[in-house]
Subunit: 196 residues, 2 copies
DNA sequence: TGAAAAAACTAATATGCGTTAGTTTTACAA
DNA sequence: TTGTAAAACTAACGCATATTAGTTTTTTCA
């Protein structure tokens, strides 16, 4: 009946993907049907196939868009001239910003990657592993230069990535804590702890 | 054909639940069918209904078993005579132990609660919110007594809970880091930071 | 304005799902 | 050894799913 709204800088496919991310976040990928997605767009389900190849393609696009975002950012940070500690802080802040500004897509990437089909699943996991390794290397470099305590670098990276990811639980309190306070507090917590 | 194995201290229902947790962890609740669960148990799907009421009952049991475990533990810790900092450390260590010792069920509870049906979903979320509030109160008490820096207590709790939850990613490295090192490093990181 | 392309529609198919009904087999206690 | 309860079985139902084929409507642009 209606036609999918086509805003200035986004194709119909982009609009579908964005709505899919919203839906997969709130209902999960497996439970959200193409009919529901179509209804949210004011369209019948088969019409979607004029723009996309399959349901799983939607998930692939979402997951790899997020992954590529992080990959690009760490490359930029790595090639800068900052100290290791400053680089690590920059990455933490970037994660927090991504989590808050691209909530739906990051959430879906974090939660629903398991439903990717091969070979995309393997590709996604390799990308993530490689990203984590970059962070481990950064922490270990920081330990070498005495900027960072001699901890197990992998545990530190795991702690940081998981803490930041937990911002998905934060939205319900958005009104009570300014975003900058949240970001600064979490960065300080992860770098300096909370004990006096 | 075969009969579900019935070990000494667990009923057939217990065996089904344990296997369901394994399956829901690896495949997700929505994607794992009763036929798959039955096959993993060496049985036909309808046979399961001699022991359980429905698929969603399995999820309920898993989620609330985990939730009750945490509730009981925090009650015990709250009523002890330790300092606030020691109480917080004890909770962190309990979370880590739960994550490592009851991996399947904790994972499923963390990931699949969204598929709970009402009124269980509301109940689960209320329980979790109340648990988080207990932790917030503990952190705020620690700030009052100058044990803890004057941070936003909710952000601190969010950081701690999320970091610990991230241990779900840890299993692939189990061989390389002893569990005690992992636990001690993460506790130290969350309490004292990593910067020199 | 009219032709071409884009994007919607309806109808239908094959598949897998949770679950029920009814029946048969197995296990245990008297 | 036999009777009873537990637990398995087969067959089937109704429903929702992703996707396809074929057709019609809408938009675009020369």
């Amino acid at each position: 009946m209606a036609k999918i709204f086509n805003s200035k800088n986004s194709t119909r496919k982009d609009v579908i993907i964005q709505k899919a991310a919203m839906l997969y976040k709130s209902k999960s990928y497996a439970t959200a049907s193409m009919r529901e997605l179509a209804e949210a767009l004011g369209v019948e389900a088969p019409s979607l196939y004029n723009h996309i190849g399959s349901k799983s393609e939607l998930l692939q696009i979402i997951c790899f868009k997020v992954a590529n975002n992080f990959i690009e950012q760490i490359k930029a940070i790595q090639s800068g001239g900052d100290t290791n500690a400053v680089k690590i802080e920059a990455i933490i802040r970037f994660h927090i910003k991504m989590m808050l500004d691209n909530f739906d897509e990051v959430y879906v990437s974090n939660h629903e990657w398991k439903h990717l089909k091969e070979p995309f699943l393997t590709d996604f996991l390799n990308t993530r592993r490689s990203y984590e390794q970059s962070l481990v290397n950064l922490v270990e470099a920081g330990i070498e230069t005495n900027e960072i305590k001699p901890v197990n670098a992998y545990v530190a990276v795991l702690t940081i990535l998981s803490a930041v990811r937990g911002l998905e639980f934060w939205q319900r309190n958005k009104k009570n804590i300014p975003q900058q306070v949240l970001e600064d507090d979490m960065v300080h917590h992860l770098l300096n702890g909370i004990l006096n």
